[in-house]
Amino acid sequence: EAGVVQSPRYKIIEKKQPVAFWCNPISGHNTLYWYRQNLGQGPELLIRYENEEAVDDSQLPKDRFSAERLKGVDSTLKIQPAELGDSAVYLCASSLVGGITDTQYFGPGTRLTVL
């Protein structure tokens, strides 16, 4: 079992460029989370999906961030255009059943550097 898979692992872009991150959750996990973790901080929840429905995206900066989870399996998080302050690690997690209190299984993260 590979666990939660994320790609790419590292991404370096110039500001104003678009970037996308991909996440494949553990097979059978209905709930998928995207987090952003700034240096020296804890993860910050951006969006949570129950199957293909975004049940909470209140922390997602909607002017430049978007996410989708087509067919309720893998998910893509996009930033367009990227800003210097978007440099962070973007974590994906999944859990088996619905409810935000279920055990979350994290991926390795994508480290984004915006120059």
């Binding site: 989370y33 901080q41 804890g42 929840l45 909470d56 209140s58 935000i100 994290f106 390795p108």
Partner: protein, 107 residues
């Protein structure tokens, strides 16, 4: 507003000594609290949750509603406990992590 406070960014203890990682939360309702851990070069993973009242790897954490705390404790630290520890809180539909404490156990 900071929902979860972990006052110590760095904590060092000697092997065999007791360890306590502090966590305070801000929430007026009934909280659900967790400790997540990230070992070097590994993924973030759940260590324990208060509702289970279990001991994992010798760690325990007791919810103190009066002090709004959920400190993580272990009576005898081991070198393999060296890691980054995050306290986390669920309020309604949101999940909040603290800023983390990096624990180093000195041999």
């Amino acid at each position: 507003a900071q929902r979860v406070t972990q006052p110590e960014k760095l904590l060092s203890v000697f092997k065999g000594a007791p360890v306590e990682l502090k966590c305070n939360y801000s929430y007026s309702g009934s909280p659900e609290l967790f400790w997540y851990v990230q070992y070097s070069r590994q993924r973030l993973q759940l260590l324990l949750r208060h509702i289970s009242r279990e001991s994992i790897k010798g760690f325990t954490a007791d919810l103190n509603k009066g002090e709004t705390s959920f400190h993580l404790k272990k009576p005898f630290a081991q070198e393999e406990d060296s890691a980054m520890y995050y306290c986390a809180l669920v309020t309604g539909n949101q999940f909040y992590f603290g800023t983390g404490t990096s624990l180093t156990v000195i041999p």
